[in-house]
């Protein structure tokens, strides 16, 4: 082992109590950083997956119908007021071509053609307003995890069958195998058999969603051969907005990403992330100050030893390194211990942070990279914190160090 390391380690071992205390300080600091990172990342992750569990990352819709003024504006007369047009349900123009194009886009992992519109679901005298959703069951399963949320019956969307929410079923008093009449505003109706009930964990969706086949929905909503929207899933959810903008400019369609739909949630995340970052920064700073103060004391205590080493021909550079290494070692070893404590803390937190039913509401994000980064960062912080005391040691005058040490 090189000379500087030998002396640095021996000095640390000699200052037993100081070393133990500062190691404990670094350990706790690193554990807090690791735990809070895992907690916030885990919480955000489970909130996002909950939010995205019931919606597509990007929804493509036909562009709005615009009213076109028929009077030329530069003429003597023009329309002073142009009424906005009511948006009727329309199909995406040339959806086959657009679907093929977006499905092949890099970053897009799944796509599903949809026919969606308003309808009434009725049984006997009871009726409810619902959202009729025509899907290709296989493709749709890749957008929303509907099959996993089936609580009765099965995930079967075939001609003449429908999937409805558990709450709608109890409102209308239907169960598996019962018939349901679905009517729309364009005066069409159909009778569908309930093949399965789902529970999306959201009452509103459980009351409103009625899934059937594409052709049944086309027929009911009077959209022959049409597609009202295309739902997409992307690889990196935080790229959704960028991909949506790209699709919009390429196809002229309205493209809405989940980030736009959930702008509030994202803003909350950003604030949370900033708070976490501030906490991490201050904890790091405290750890650095702790290491620096212990080393400052150590330099004073070791004055005589420094003088002796200098008298024996140790250059200033090596004295500098002896103390830098001590800082780096304390940071590194403390962080290793802190990583262990952090892992324990994370386990405890995931058990403590629960919902009303006592279920853990988040899975801690135990990313090994967090540990590696925290440990390396602590070593670097230790080195930097040692810079000042080490410089002081290196500049020490050997004569006064020996005489007054």
């Amino acid at each position: 082992m090189p000379f500087e390391w030998v002396v640095a380690i021996r000095f640390l071992r000699e200052g037993r109590m100081q070393t133990v205390l500062i190691l404990a300080g670094v350990m706790i600091g690193v554990a807090v950083i690791i735990a809070i990172t895992a907690l916030i990342t885990g919480l955000q992750g489970s909130l996002i997956s909950r939010t995205l569990g019931t919606q597509a990352h990007i929804v493509l819709r036909p562009p709005d119908d615009l009213a076109t003024p028929v009077l030329p504006r530069d003429g003597a007369a023009f329309a002073a007021r142009v009424e906005k047009r009511a948006q009727r349900l329309r199909s995406i123009d040339q959806w086959q071509r657009i679907h093929a194009e977006v499905d092949a886009m890099p970053g897009v992992t799944a796509s599903s053609l949809m026919v969606t519109g308003a309808a009434f679901a009725a049984r006997g005298t009871a009726s409810r307003a619902v959202a009729l959703i025509g899907v290709d069951p296989e493709r749709y399963a890749r957008i929303v995890k509907l099959p996993e949320n089936i609580v009765a019956g099965e995930y079967r969307i075939t001609p003449g069958n429908a999937l409805i929410g558990a709450d709608l079923a109890s409102d209308l008093g239907v169960s598996i195998g019962d018939k349901l009449r679905v009517a729309t505003a364009v005066n069409r109706d159909d009778t569908l058999t309930v093949a399965g009930l789902f529970d999306m964990g959201n009452r509103d969706l459980n009351r409103r969603w009625v899934f059937t086949t594409l052709s049944a929905a086309r027929n009911l909503l009077d959209l022959p051969g049409g597609v009202s929207n295309i739902d997409l899933v992307v690889t990196d959810i935080f790229q959704a907005e960028r991909i949506a903008r790209e699709i919009a400019s390429r196809t002229g369609l309205k493209a809405e990403s989940w980030m736009e739909t959930n702008a509030q949630l994202l803003a909350a995340f950003e604030n949370q992330t900033m708070t976490t970052r501030a906490i991490r920064t201050f904890v790091t700073l405290i750890v650095a100050l702790g290491i620096a103060s212990v080393l400052v004391v150590s330099v004073v205590q070791k004055q005589k030893e420094i003088g002796i080493l200098r008298a024996m021909g140790t250059p200033r550079g090596k004295i500098l390194w002896i103390f830098l290494i001590q800082g780096g070692l304390v940071g590194f070893l403390g962080a290793l211990l802190g990583a262990g404590l952090g892992a324990v803390l994370i386990q405890m937190l995931s058990r403590l942070v629960t919902d009303a039913q006592g279920n853990a509401i988040f899975t801690p994000d135990n990313d090994p990279l967090t540990y590696v980064v925290a440990v390396l960062l602590a070593a670097v912080v230790g080195l930097l914190a040692a810079a000042l005391p080490a410089r002081r040691a290196a500049r020490m005058d050997p004569v006064s160090a020996i005489r007054y040490g």
Binding site: M1, F3, E305, G307, L309, M312, G313
Partner: protein, 232 residues
């Protein structure tokens, strides 16, 4: 080092502290001194006569305010801090009054330390040489002991072994026996003389003890920063 060149050559060495005229303290007033290889010299004088300052200057721990100092034929005036440190490490061994061993290291490690500083890594040859040196100062079997586990005389013997570990042509000893009882003091002094005779290492020993000074080849008496007598 050229053959026959003196180990140490001081010409007109002056030292003062404080740059301001009003507070300036002149400690050394023009010291001329030559020490030949293998000589054993005593530096004597009352407290405050400038012995320690002179020893620090010779030991390259302090720079003189004026004058020329050559160690092993090398003029030190043109050397920077790194150059002085290197020359010090190779050519000068130190024995201090209060031994100044590193408490965190064992006796043998303390002896190895100057070699480790020079070569950066401990090896078997170093350990062997350190053990040999400890045996020579009569401390076989004490290799693994910490300084705190040794008596004052034993600590000083370790310090002597350490001073010899780089085989320096010159050893500076600042009251090496000042902290010891008469019996131990005699032993340590005898050891220094033995090493001097055996290896030809030159010694410059600061002492208060006229009895010991009388046993040196050469005694230099310093009073108020001036050499008042040099007996050969």
């Amino acid at each position: 080092m050229a053959d026959g060149a003196p180990i140490l050559e001081l010409a007109g060495i002056r030292k003062h502290y404080g740059d301001d005229e009003a507070v300036r303290t002149q400690v050394l007033h023009g010291i001329d001194l030559v020490l030949q290889a293998g000589e054993f010299a005593a530096l004597i004088g009352p407290s405050g006569s400038g012995k320690s300052t002179l020893l620090n200057i010779i030991g390259l721990l302090e720079r003189p305010s004026e004058g020329r100092l050559a160690v092993c034929g090398e003029d030190t005036g043109s050397l920077d801090d790194t150059g002085l440190t290197r020359l010090r490490g190779r050519s000068i061994g130190f024995v201090f009054q209060f031994h100044h061993l590193l408490p965190a290291f064992t006796a043998i490690e303390n002896v190895m330390m100057p070699m480790m500083v020079e070569r950066n890594r401990a090896d078997a040859a170093m350990r062997e040489r350190a053990a040999l040196l400890l045996a020579r100062v009569g401390l076989s079997g004490h290799e693994g002991k910490r300084p705190s586990q040794l008596s004052g005389g034993q600590q000083q013997r370790v310090a002597i072994a350490r001073a010899l570990s780089m085989q320096p042509p010159l050893v500076l000893a600042d009251e090496p026996t000042g902290n010891l009882d008469t019996h131990s003091a005699d032993g340590i002094f005898e050891l220094l003389r033995e090493v001097n005779r055996g290896s030809g290492t030159a010694f410059l020993v600061v002492t208060h003890d006229p009895r010991l000074a009388a046993r040196c080849d050469h005694a230099i008496e310093l009073v108020d920063g001036r050499i008042v007598s040099a007996r050969r």
